[in-house]
Subunit: 297 residues, 2 copies
């Protein structure tokens, strides 16, 4: 499929892409740019041919695909280097979780000779680092490709083909819709999980009791989500403006929930609780989760 | 261990207790009181000797242990029947998730000849009904026994022994502490999950988009928790007064979280996000969950 691919940033997502490319034999040569020495030694356990590079040099100026998998706050520096080194018409993508900010940045500083089509594979975990990477991480998961005006349709198709080859279902949407949708399905749930764990920590101090000991009752699942990478999630919360709207809507619902309890409004409370089952049903129908009940792992 | 045990209400928890008693041969005779015809036909698939009863009659007036596993709003009726039929000194327990209300009710209306020691096995799932029951549901899970003044220590020991025999770790605490602790570790997380799903449903209407389709990004796990039994959770929210305090603390934290985002307070936000990992670490150390990462089931 490709002659040369460059992966910049090789943590959980980058190394999963690396493993998938190796497994599917999608590129003759693979280059990896990774700053962390500890990550490099972990990646080296993956047996295959790939080359670590310190700088983007002439050898890789003609890359078919550059995939940026670093935290978003490194994008600016990376773009400046790519501007200098990459050949005209080179295809760049990234895997960030918020898109309006990325599109804005690249429109501002990316050299017009280069083609950046942004991606967001909806895959991840509470763990980070290349040791947890998995060639099947993207299998049957959505990969969003960000649609913009006047895009190179040949390159869009190439990128689509790439994500499909490594197992994803592909959907195109614009960055505004992307950020709206994922503010609700991903960003708000993570923020709420972080906030719940903070509340449990505070309660532990107030009650002077080891609450965590009894976490089997529900806290457990939230603690997993709230153990996700803090750099990644800081970047997401700072870069998706929709999160404030999402918090406000959540807050409004929480206050009305509280009132239903205080007023012992039996009928409305039951309705609210049973309505949630519809969402679960949809999620199971869409095969986003399996129906097997969870009794605590 | 027992000659006669009576299980009143045989859904997920009741039928799990039934299966455990059968499996461990803890009682010569087992009686089941269950109103739902559909549940009865599901229970009948469990091959063993047990007897369905319609009314508490003379045959079971000398039960060694009565275990109430119905929704809490049926307790009053049940107590009135037990008052009439059970012999002096009979031991009753229940498995409800809130305790101050149960203790108050039984202190008010239970005949003084009967001994009620309340229990709360910390086990369950998003599914309900006897078809999901499991003899190992209580294995390595906490069972709380509610301590009160002037309790029959012989009966406490018998109840302790019972929960241990079916696999639980047992802890004694008073009802006030019980309700405080579980308002945070169990009741608030469920309320928050219900509220998050409601917020996603509202957003779906506002955005006129099928958000649920992309739920793999985090909503999925909350949807499972929010699919729990609405009758049980209505009763819990109505009966644990601590839930309002818990909501208020959560709300306070959510507002400060929002401010950190709005003010782009990098340092404090990173601290807050990374602090959650401590709770996860504790939970794994306590073996409340396994360390195996979750990449979506």
């Amino acid at each position: 499929m490709f002659n040369k691919v460059l992966i910049i940033g090789c943590g959980l997502i980058g190394s999963s892409i690396l493993r998938a490319i190796i497994s599917k034999k999608l590129s003759k040569k693979i280059f990896i740019s990774e700053k962390s020495k500890s990550n490099i030694s972990k990646i080296k356990k993956i047996k295959s041919n790939y080359t670590f590079i310190k700088n983007i040099n002439s050898e890789i100026s003609d890359c078919d695909l550059v995939i940026i998998c670093t935290p978003m706050n490194q994008y600016k520096n990376i773009i400046q280097k790519l501007n200098q080194r990459l050949k005209k018409g080179s295809l760049i993508t990234d895997v960030s979780s918020t898109k309006q900010n990325v599109i804005k940045l690249k429109n501002k500083i990316l050299n017009k000779k280069l083609i950046w089509i942004s991606s967001h594979p909806i895959a991840g975990s509470e763990v980070s680092g290349p040791e947890y990477g998995d060639k099947n991480l993207f299998l049957n998961k959505w990969s969003v490709i960000i649609r913009e005006k006047k895009q190179n349709s040949k390159k869009i198709n190439l990128l689509k083909k790439f994500w499909k080859k490594i197992g994803s279902k592909v959907i195109l949407m614009d960055s505004v819709n992307h950020d709206k949708i994922f503010s609700i399905t991903s960003h708000l749930p993570h923020l709420i999980a972080y906030n719940l764990i903070k509340t449990a920590q505070d309660s532990q101090k107030i009650q002077k009791k080891n609450l965590i000991k009894y976490s089997a009752g529900g806290l457990r699942d939230f603690s997993r989500i709230a153990a996700s990478n803090e750099i990644m999630w800081r970047d997401i919360f700072f870069n998706n403006d929709n999160i404030i709207k999402a918090i406000n809507l959540f807050n409004k619902n929480l206050n009305s929930f509280k009132k239903l309890i205080q007023n012992k409004n039996n009928k409305k409370l039951l309705l609210r609780l049973s309505n949630s089952k519809k969402v679960r049903k949809q999620i199971l129908q869409l095969k986003q989760d399996i129906a097997k009940p969870d009794f605590g792992r």
